[in-house]
Symmetry: C2
Amino acid sequence: MDVKVSIFGFGNVGRATARVLLKKAGFIQRRYGLEFKVVSITDRSGTLWMPEGIDLREALTVKESLGRISAWTNDYELYDMGPKEAVRDVGADIVVDVTNEVNAHEWHLLALREGKAVVTSNKPPLAFHYGKLTKEAERRGLPYLFEATVMAGTPIITLLRDGLLGDSVERIEAVLNATTTFILSEMERGATFEAALKRAQKLGIAERDPRGDILGIDAGYKATILHCIAFEPMTFDNAEVSGIVEVTEGKIKRAGKSGKTVRLVATVEKGTVTVEPREVPLGSPLAVESHENAAVIKTDLLGELVIKGAGAGLKETASGVVSDVVKASLSLSG
Amino acid sequence: MDVKVSIFGFGNVGRATARVLLKKAGFIQRRYGLEFKVVSITDRSGTLWMPEGIDLREALTVKESLGRISAWTNDYELYDMGPKEAVRDVGADIVVDVTNEVNAHEWHLLALREGKAVVTSNKPPLAFHYGKLTKEAERRGLPYLFEATVMAGTPIITLLRDGLLGDSVERIEAVLNATTTFILSEMERGATFEAALKRAQKLGIAERDPRGDILGIDAGYKATILHCIAFEPMTFDNAEVSGIVEVTEGKIKRAGKSGKTVRLVATVEKGTVTVEPREVPLGSPLAVESHENAAVIKTDLLGELVIKGAGAGLKETASGVVSDVVKASLSLSG
């Protein structure tokens, strides 16, 4: 089956998604009988639209050598369309949002109303409008999928949405942000907060504006999304979030002396989401290193369940996006 | 929505399932809008059939005080039907197999041909007939679900079937049998194999005939099922399985001295399933204790993913069965 896909956002995650779609095309065709045709790519400069399908290899080359999709001057039609117009006008089956746009929920809703499935790695739409978006999708019987918003491609969302259906979740404790883990690990090795942050930025682990990570906002978005799935819709406005800027070198040393390590831990219980630096025992599932994330899910029937895996990284995030694109396609065709 | 369920097997797992269905009826009604009506229960003594729905509380009392369903003398209709007849004649939407019957695949197939969904915790049908069963279910568009066959309710099967759809699994390493973990742990504390086995039997952790566990057959069934999902159908006949009977106290002591512990580890790669006692480093995900199971799943995009949770226990196994009954119902109604 041919599936028409529109990609919104052609930054790191968008391009990684395109690369995985290229690399795994044969696998996906053999395993699921699906052939993806990317019919449009929208970045900040405009929309490349090609009903017969864009050559992703060429699109990657243009973007990577010239910086924007609109630099493409021959062969393809370029339009001065933003996301809303592209969602409406391009005849896609699946809209893939791999932007960071805070107000993308508006065109997610539009896509659903136009009968299109939505796959996204973009957190704010979910962290602020979960109830509205999932209700609209349900009413229209359309997939609205967002595996890559939490723990990259590590399938914690599939696990909570498609599994454990008879269990009542009682609590989730999780380390959901890899940048803060990196900084805290560097501080354990003796670096100051400032030096650790600088190193993270140099390595591309932290962004130039690191506030989303170090103030706990990114972890808070993710924890809010987990709350929405495990319990009921809530918004990030009700999350209690503190970051790691006040974690001192002394605090980290003291933790180390008692066999513990400091991590930015999210705690999700019915009605409350808290993100704060906490001491966790070395050897516990939350004492993650590097780009690993981990969650301990406590339920009434099963007791404690641990899921641990990559929580950052480009192909690791694309893993979640592409898994959802496959899932959406199977659901549309089924 | 009312969903009619036939339960086959009313031993420990069957009764735990009934107890969870009772206890979580309100939750399931509120969350999914589903109401389960158990219209028949089949044990070795016969079939209790009640189109209006059996009172599970009474059924549990009868079975637990009198030992068999057929001891019920008033109110209900009792039939001298085996599974095949009950599958055919009772008008259920979902057939739940919580027996250990080796040849149950015959009536699983019959159920699918009769248009009924199948949920099972019974391993041999999957370990020997995976391809046939899942193909039949797919052809008829019916759910064939078996979460509880591997790691009890810990949703490794949901994770592999409904998640990671763009990833290629490269290898799974897992501890899938809790009885052998118990025995090996006891031996670490100085017990002989025989004493440890006896203790496990006394506590109800090992069965009176413990061969399925200690020879690695149970773990082999489970590993074979994981192979079928992650790669392609194969049967247990092609698995290479050795158990823990040849693990000496000396071997365990030597492992301990080098910071390791011996566990019965299944390794699943494309075309091969191996189960054998192996030394694993303390602190590694496979160094599980008690009734915990763990799996390390390696994929091309995501790298290493760990899932760890209860791998045995009655309500823990019922968790998987009931989750699948909910999932099957949502799929039938969707």
